[in-house]
Symmetry: C2
């Protein structure tokens, strides 16, 4: 095709005006990133006084949470102060608080909107107080790795995705010596408050820190306040009207919805593939449910339903195979199946069976060596507990083989590493061949994951997080500790709240040991969002009613939508959110 080619001058190219302007767009300075920094963020009326941003005060509301008594005993300071009551915002603070040094960190996996928490926090603290950023998460706090967040920093990160201004990690601050390290850092760097931006585990950690730093940290006997901010793309940190959703969920699900919508359109264009798509979400299926409501896939599996209705893996496979065959007979040889990442762990008995299998394969390593996979299976059935042996035996061959094959160098198969979408599509293929080998069934498997954690923040998430930051800052300036910032009434101006974290803790068995944690909010089968999904999904399976909801729009007529699951569950009248009262 070089037919009309001409000579190229390297220097001329590099020095062209276009090349020059491209080189100036590096380091988060794409036209898009430059433009979103200029966008104004809607602020709740609560934070506006005489046309200017101002922190609010809080008072205990009538809404009382019922703490786990056993746990409550471990949080005497926090519970005595909060009386397990949710704080609601009143007027703006009358006295000006100044001189506070507030440290903020990200904890756990990134989620879009984190930067705007910092922005809301910085702006509400105002010039009279200092905001310090803790580098690289809890580990950075232990090391005392802090720097002052300037207004220039905030201008750089406003409305942008990611956690990159600070970085993050997953270190837990639990051991007494770690708490001591934190106390020393707080004394040395004269920190008055710590804001922890994280998910359920990080907020559990915040509750601990709040209790342990309640008093006697500084030389004058005073403590250090600790405030949490609810983040997680999984959406499993929720508390009905008092915490409609964690931040990051809206952006992540809109990114996945774009991708899934595109695949749905591809499947109905190419007319030959069934796509099996695994979506991120460690346990709960909120992400999958939201994406299903946005896109109307052929099938969306919901882990909580599988567990609650005791649906076995062969039953799941059967039901997908039947849908494939039903559609094929109508001439529709394509479809999309959404698979929540956590599915495997919700299938009755599956996780313990895998553990048992891992153990027995290690124990009988020598007996198994040299055997074919079929013979290995025959050998191992009888070594498992009866229930586990029967469960393994009941699985489709392709799944059994994958469970034996996909082992790491230590011979283990961690549940989280199972490619559920590949396993399912293989099993469905086997089942279809048994039922009707004439059916065309081409498959493609996908995992949509990390690309949704740091995406360009939706208008919902950037507004929500800015106001969460302002709420967290207000809680600090109002002298509170052990609370998580929240907002309610997202469809009508939004109102700031403080939720006493210790009152949310419960005891859960983790890795065989009881742990005090915030219980994950799972999809409830009696929630409006699930009931609505349940009322439509048969139609979606039988016909092609799919939507391509498109990429996240920061401008234009469709930019102000909250998640559908949130609007349904909160019984709002529309999808449009409002963070200001006008």
């Amino acid at each position: 095709m070089n037919k009309l080619q001409h000579d190229i001058d390297r220097d001329k190219i590099i020095n062209s005006s276009l090349a020059g302007s491209l080189a100036h767009m590096e380091k988060a300075r794409s036209p898009f990133e430059n433009a979103i920094r200029e966008r104004e963020v809607p602020v709740c009326n609560a934070f506006i006084k005489s046309g200017r941003l101002a922190p609010v005060s809080f008072s205990q509301s009538g809404r009382v949470l019922e703490p786990n008594r056993e746990i409550a005993a471990s949080f005497p300071n926090s519970i005595a102060a909060s009386k397990n009551r949710i704080l609601s915002a009143g007027d703006t603070l009358t006295a000006t608080v100044s001189g506070k040094r507030v440290a903020v960190m990200f904890s756990g996996g990134p989620a879009a909107g984190g930067h705007n928490v910092l922005a809301g926090l910085k702006h509400i603290l105002g010039e009279g107080n200092t905001l310090l950023g803790i580098k690289a998460g809890p580990k950075g706090l232990l090391k005392g790795n802090l720097f002052e967040i300037s207004t220039d920093h905030v201008r750089q990160i406003l409305n942008t995705g990611g956690f990159n201004l600070l970085g993050t990690d997953r270190t837990k601050i639990e051991k007494p010596e770690d708490i001591e390290k934190v106390k020393i850092v707080c004394r040395e760097q004269n920190i008055d408050a710590i804001v922890v931006i994280g998910g359920d585990d990080s907020n559990t950690n915040a509750a601990w820190l709040a209790e342990k730093l309640y008093s006697e940290v500084k030389e004058d006997g005073s403590g250090v306040q600790v405030i949490g901010v609810p983040k997680t793309i999984d959406g499993d940190l929720q508390l009905d009207d008092d915490l409609p959703i964690s931040f990051g969920f809206d952006t992540a699900t809109k990114i996945y919805s774009e991708q899934v919508g595109n695949i749905l359109r591809d499947s109905s264009s190419s007319l030959k593939y069934w796509h099996f798509i695994r979506l991120m979400g460690r346990s709960a299926s909120h992400v999958t449910l939201e994406v299903a409501l946005q896109t109307h896939p052929t099938i969306a599996l919901i882990s909580e339903e599988v567990r609650e209705r005791n649906i076995t893996l062969p039953e799941i496979v059967d039901s997908i195979a039947e849908t494939v065959i039903m559609r094929a007979r109508k001439g529709i040889n394509y479809g999309v199946v959404l698979v929540p990442e956590g599915l495997i762990e919700f299938i009755p008995g599956f996780t313990t069976m895998i553990d048992d299998l891992n153990d027995k394969m290690a124990q009988y390593k020598d007996d198994l060596s040299g055997k074919s996979i079929k013979d290995q299976l025959l050998f191992i059935y009888s070594k498992l507990t009866q229930a586990h042996g029967e469960l393994l035996e009941s699985l489709p061959d392709s799944i059994k083989f994958k469970l034996m094959e996909d082992r790491d160098e230590h011979g283990n198969l961690p549940v989280s590493k199972i490619e559920t979408e590949t396993m399912l599509s293989g099993a469905v293929r086997d089942r279809i061949n048994e039922l009707d080998s004439g059916i065309k069934f081409g498959t493609l498997n996908h995992f949509f994951g990390y690309e949704a954690r740091c995406g360009a923040t939706t208008v919902f998430d950037s507004s929500y997080t800015y106001n969460l930051g302002a709420t967290a800052g207000s809680l600090v300036l109002d002298g509170r500790t052990g609370y998580m910032a929240s907002l309610t009434a997202l469809d009508r101006g939004a109102a700031p709240l403080g939720i006493p974290i210790a009152s949310l803790l419960d005891i859960e068995i983790r890795k065989g040991k009881p742990a005090q944690v915030i219980e994950k909010a799972l999809v409830k089968l009696d929630s409006p969002a699930f009931i609505y999904f349940d009322s439509r999904r048969k139609l979606w399976a039988e016909n092609d009613l799919s939507n391509s909801p498109g990429p996240i729009q920061l401008w234009g007529p469709t930019s102000r939508q909250m998640p559908k699951t949130v609007a349904l569950n909160r019984e709002y009248d529309s999808l449009e959110f409002r963070f200001s009262g006008e």
Copy 2:
């Protein structure tokens, strides 16, 4: 977290006003899809007469292509008519052409913008002519599976992604009996012209059809015109200024750029992963180059450079490992490596080595059975040709093992199935352990593919395709055949062109046989886009200069950008395109 739960009434939920409005948003009626249908598409001045859309006439320009003489002999009709000259548009057609029946089909993989080709075609043909849609690609033409595309259809699909109004497939119409079938369909359904929307192979097919249907198709001795429209997300259908890019490339690369930008932000937030990302693009690396220019990853491999500079796989692995170590020593334990899908086939000797390996493994099946992988390798080296044996032996262990393991049920390893990103990250890990085992190197592998073929069409692609459709329709009404519709001068109003397809054909060896095909436009190392990339990449490897260019915006300040590679290669002054002269 069920602490503030209340009773739910299923009927009330399903009959709520929100649920009702959600149910009305099904089947491509999301708020986004509804809104984009209302967007106006910019039209070139060439197509406007007295404020209304009007087809243009064409005349032969001074730009002459040099056909392959051997091939030219097979296209006597087409070449006699075109004289190998590119057609440029003149005034709008003076005589009104009516009564024409034009059939249109999609061919090959989907690409965003296809629907707007139909829209431009329908509108330019006007009410006096009939547009017929061929269902499910070339196969549908052979079956005579056609329907009339109405203005209602066009309203439904305007600006939406995908090929779903018609569907597509990859059937080739080459055999004399297939040409006969097409002639019968044309006679029976009284078709005057066929528009083929497809990539290089589909346009090759269009050239064939044009030649074979040149005359004596209808009872009156007349022929059927055939016009091509250049589609492919790979961007490998280009002809310098006369065809700056195929449609679908802009949307696909903007979708990948969003995803890669998000991953780059995730990597600099989580501070612990190297992401290896394989991007679609069967042969050419245009997609990877464009995404690299949009996002500034740590490393982007370009297949054409690997082939042209004779870079071996161990050299690629070494160079990535060195960058990982260089960054780690600066405290940067993360990065992103872009890997073009076609890379493997460009590594000197790799493809023939795999073929040889497949053959020999089949031949010595019995000798290999029961052997460990290491022993299998030791056995097979000497069976390969000396060059292949040496190449295989030179590869990192992890790659050798993967090449032996990843075989399908027939024992084959098709090159297209090699997960290059996984192979590379494994090999880089081995190399780093050899060089400096103290380096932290966590990896995540991704393949970004199908989600970019049917995405919400960018403003560039929807404008480009609408005008390509109007160009194709004008070529039909002007009585032309054997041309591909194109547009030039995309930065200054755009001008319609017709490119004689037969003049583009060349002979290429495919599956061991000579085939007449349009030569794929590969990335040229002396092109401005590559030279610019080359001038920046060292900086991107050493520092974090990454961009998150964000999701495709249909509204707002950043919606009117063409691909960077196109703007650079065409030496435009800015990224902004203009499809109207005002």
